[in-house]
Symmetry: C2
């Protein structure tokens, strides 16, 4: 018999693991129509291309790829990635670091910047995985107000003056979970405020290329004069999440600290995975592949929005121009957490919006993903949801 | 002009990045004979097999491999890994988590267990990467005394009673940097002390299979009655470090905390890389491959030891039975940091031992790697070192 108890680190005191991941276990039943995940559709995952590229890079540079690599990145990828990111961002980048999925970008940025008790301003609602990341760094999370266009600069400034935050975390394009996109003038305002007050901005932009209508908007980073905006990029949504390749770009001193942090986090990102993404960039395979994905996801998004138009009065929802998610507000009296079990019994799943809210509440909200269902599933599943909502009113 | 300064997190106050990595930049010159790294030899890296396996797994399960995976691991690998690890360890394992190289095992274990100021007992000297990891968690590192057989249990118990540590970090087999292997009775003693006092043991055992003489010794974990020993395993030395696949095994509550930590660290380890290692295990490719590696490295180790026998009097060195490293103590008057520049001028490199020492000092020590040089390079390079040492005496 063991007389001792295990004492875990205090950073876990308020973190018990992702609630969403528990939902995912429940809904992993055969026949479930899931609007819950944020997964690419199977058709969008280029398995044959990846197989060909893996063979090619291992034939050409196999010994170096299987050997230890530099923490700073696999040299050919570092080169192609920098050019790629600069074309994405529309500005020169002083430094860039390939990482093991953009989740690691956030982890390393927090490792570099955040002491327990430091304040981070966050959009509310926001991406659950990175909320958990910030909580594990024992940050003080303060929500910033949003309207239909996203983060409100005047509230951001007020919160900066009140809380003296170390960082702002934002997903400006096709936001997770709301699907909202921040307009150009607000991006410029955020960059200016970050420079004026010395606040690091974590600009998390994994959905940027998934635009189905409207025009590309310049990054917050492109308005950054003094190097306070760090850009977090990902290949998860345009190549494959399973490969775990992303990047962080911006201020060289911050990238250096992230690199030192990465030395003792995973030494370097798998060379094979970096080499595969490198070939996607060098062979210019991304534009066509992204075009195909956008065709597929765009029609799914329109189908889901069309269904939502027929939902009962009192249901409000966002009108994204891209990304993976639509956010819906049900009538105040409906508790979307309770309603989930009824939906799951009828083989339809979503994520209750409260889980994305830094301050809890918002029990009448839901997040709907359209990328990982067929048009038929969307039509059928949304009809089920509509009827359940009707019966709850 | 920017009027604000960036304030990094305090965990970096005493961490400036790996000194070794700076050395590596200097010695990355053409023609350099490097005894400095800890890299597998090119011949030991199975590039053709990895290429074949990558194609096979992507053909068979490509869509799942490129999709998001479970943080808990790619299901087929989780199954084969558990059986593999249990055969390695000689005991049942309650829980196991695939990680992105065993460096991540240490990072997640510290994330789960260590608050700033917590004490970790460490062998001295020890592996630099994990020393940096523990420093970034702001642990209080206390060295435990060793003799020719490694960690001394009586000193370990004294230090446990004095410092009430959260953890002991040890590399029991072919230790990095000394090459020493802890005998069975001491392993049993360490397991018993950890159980008696409630101290988590991080048993880091990446070199275990690289044995060139003598018999396999049971793991510390195999003597663990109450689940205080966590085993950190790696495929970096027996398949490829570039693929970044390792694991952590032991107590289910601790593994659960590591899993939650991993959710917001990199979500999951690349499925492709897990699937490749899975096939190495399932196709039983490891025994033959390890036998070949051991033949190659064993002859290199013997060649280097033979050279050391001819070194000037006053040079003492370890006699490993496997692994990648030999540790040498030069006469007290020699400063191995200063001596390095002379060696590098003659195109020979090593790592000064002081960099591995938690408390600094030990300026007269060096770490020599033999795996990544040819027999000719070993003979030539060791002769150069011998003459430099002679001239310094």
């Amino acid at each position: 018999m063991d007389i001792h108890e295990i004492h875990f680190a205090h950073r876990f005191d308020n973190v018990s693991g992702s609630a969403i991941r528990e939902i995912f276990k429940v809904i992993a039943q055969p026949g479930m129509i899931s609007f819950a995940g944020g997964n690419p559709s199977p058709a969008a995952l280029p398995d044959r291309t990846v197989s060909d590229l893996a063979r090619q890079v291992l034939e050409k540079d196999g010994k170096a790829i299987l050997q230890y690599g530099a923490t700073e990145g696999y040299a050919p990828f570092l080169e192609s990635l920098k050019a790629y990111a600069e074309s994405q961002l529309g500005v020169q980048i002083p430094a860039i670091l390939p990482v093991t999925g953009s989740t690691q970008a956030m982890d390393l940025l927090c490792k570099a910047m955040i002491d327990p008790g430091d304040t981070i301003l966050v959009e509310n609602p926001s991406f659950l995985g990175n909320i958990q990341c910030m909580k594990l760094y024992q940050a003080n999370l303060i929500p910033v107000d949003s309207d239909d266009s996203g983060l409100i600069p005047s509230d951001l400034e007020a919160k900066i003056r009140q809380y003296h935050p170390k960082m702002l975390y934002t997903i400006p394009t096709f936001q997770n979970p709301t699907g909202k996109t921040l307009p150009e003038d607000r991006r410029r305002a955020i960059a200016e405020l970050s420079n004026q007050y010395g606040v690091v901005v974590a600009e998390d932009d994994p959905y940027r290329d998934l635009r189905y209508t409207g025009n590309q908007i310049p990054s917050i980073k492109s308005f950054d004069q003094n190097g306070w905006v760090m850009f977090l990029g990902s290949f998860s949504k345009i190549i494959s999440p399973g490969l775990r390749v992303g990047y962080i770009a911006g201020n060289a001193d911050i990238i250096r600290k992230c690199t030192v942090g990465k030395q003792s986090t995973d030494v370097h990102t798998s060379n094979l995975n970096q080499a595969i993404v490198d070939q996607f960039i060098r062979k210019n395979l991304l534009p066509d592949h992204i075009r195909q994905i956008c065709l597929e996801y765009g029609s799914k998004m329109r189908a889901m929005l069309k269904c939502l138009n027929d939902f009962p009065d009192g249901v409000h929802f966002t009108h994204p121009e891209g990304g993976l998610f639509i956010w819906a507000e049900l009538p105040q009296s409906i508790d979307a957490v309770n309603m989930l079990s009824k939906a799951v019994m009828q083989k339809v799943a979503y994520v209750p919006g409260t889980y994305f809210c830094v301050d809890g509440g918002h029990l009448n909200t839901i997040r709907l993903n359209f990328s990982n269902s067929t048009l038929e599933q969307i039509e059928y599943g949304m009809n089920v949801l509509s009827k359940i909502i009707q019966s709850e009113m």
